[in-house]
Amino acid sequence: MSATVWQRLPWIAATLLVAAVVHMGSLHVLPHFVMARALTKLGASNTMHPGHRPDASSRAVVRPSPDLLYAACPFDLSKGPLRVTAVVPHETYWSISAFDSATNNFFVRNDRQIAGDSLEVLLMRRGQAWPPLGNALERVLLISPTTKGLILVRTLIDDDRNVPALEGMLQRSKCETVATAARLR
């Protein structure tokens, strides 16, 4: 190997090292960037946004299913815990799921895993004050890995004639920041 190559070797190694750092860094940042952009598109934080049946004009989130209705609640727990109250149908598939700011799906529950007609989800950060409990028969207490993320409700359109009723059900689902009372240990 010539002396010139030996002289350039440290620079080549440094270039590859920078490439590796940028590659791994961009892989880490990409999901956070995509998530932040999607949350902005979906609407105000800590509010449920029921959507219409996806079609070719639906451009907020990639690969929407035209057979499902969605309601999305971008959450920001810096203002306190979040209470989600959802109406649960049992005639068709329904699920509620939670995603952290890195796009990980850290919680999901579907209609077959819920006995009643409604579900309350209390979402908070570890160490955040405990919110007062509502009157829901079924309740899930959930610790979010990140301050920001998304709650997503899906329901299957089993019959086109049921779309208005399913849309009405999603509109009755709520998502709100709640006042706190006690410290969660």
């Binding site: 940028v22 892989l27 990409l30 639906s58 990639v62 796009t103």
Partner: protein
């Protein structure tokens, strides 16, 4: 070349190389760590908090808000059974029986990962909409002209198909590589 210039060159070239590697790995390429069942590909780590950085970045770009595998299995086909890229100028046939799931659907997406505009406003077939034959099987035309329930329009350019299995049954959940899925064959091109 002075030292500052050399360091700048290292940083710029290194950064470009790193970003190019990311583009190759997750923007342009197949799902990292994916497995295949015929033309249908999936990753066992979709939606999981345990997924690797490559899978997580790929899902963020091509399947944001995907549920984890216990709830839903997502398969994507970008090529037919012979390995040729799906082309909106051609016609294809999806044939088989209901996959092992509470509910399933097959949806066509354009190269931009959104639903493909078409005059019929049709984008998918599903367990609840497909017309089955008397023996329980079904055949769906993808692309071309048709107006039956078993038809998915595709537009003119490159496209892909997503097969969703909601609440997968035991055979699909345990072995998504071997579970029975519909076939996807090219019928012809004009």
């Amino acid at each position: 070349m002075n030292l500052a210039l050399k360091i700048s060159a290292v940083v710029i070239v290194g950064a470009l190389l790193g970003l190019f590697a990311t583009w190759i790995a997750v923007v342009r390429g197949d799902m990292p760590g994916g497995v295949s069942n015929g033309p249908w590909k999936t990753s066992l780590a979709i939606g999981s908090t345990q997924s690797d950085p490559y899978t997580r970045a790929s899902v963020a770009l091509h399947g944001l808000f995907a549920l984890n595998r216990s709830e839903t299995i997502y398969y994507t086909a970008t090529s037919d059974a012979d390995g040729n890229a799906l082309d909106g100028a051609c016609r294809y046939e999806i044939a088989g029986r209901d996959p092992d799931a509470r509910w399933w659907s097959i949806t066509a997406y354009g190269a931009d990962d959104f639903l493909i505009p078409n005059p019929a406003n049709r984008f998918s077939v599903a367990k609840t909409t497909v017309q089955h034959n008397a023996n329980g099987s079904f055949a769906v035309q993808v692309g071309g002209a048709n107006n039956s329930a078993n038809w998915i329009p595709t537009g003119a350019g490159a496209f892909s198909l997503t097969l969703r299995l909601y609440n997968p049954g035991p055979t699909a959940a345990i072995d998504p590589v071997q579970t029975m899925l519909p076939t996807l064959k090219k019928v012809g091109c004009p």
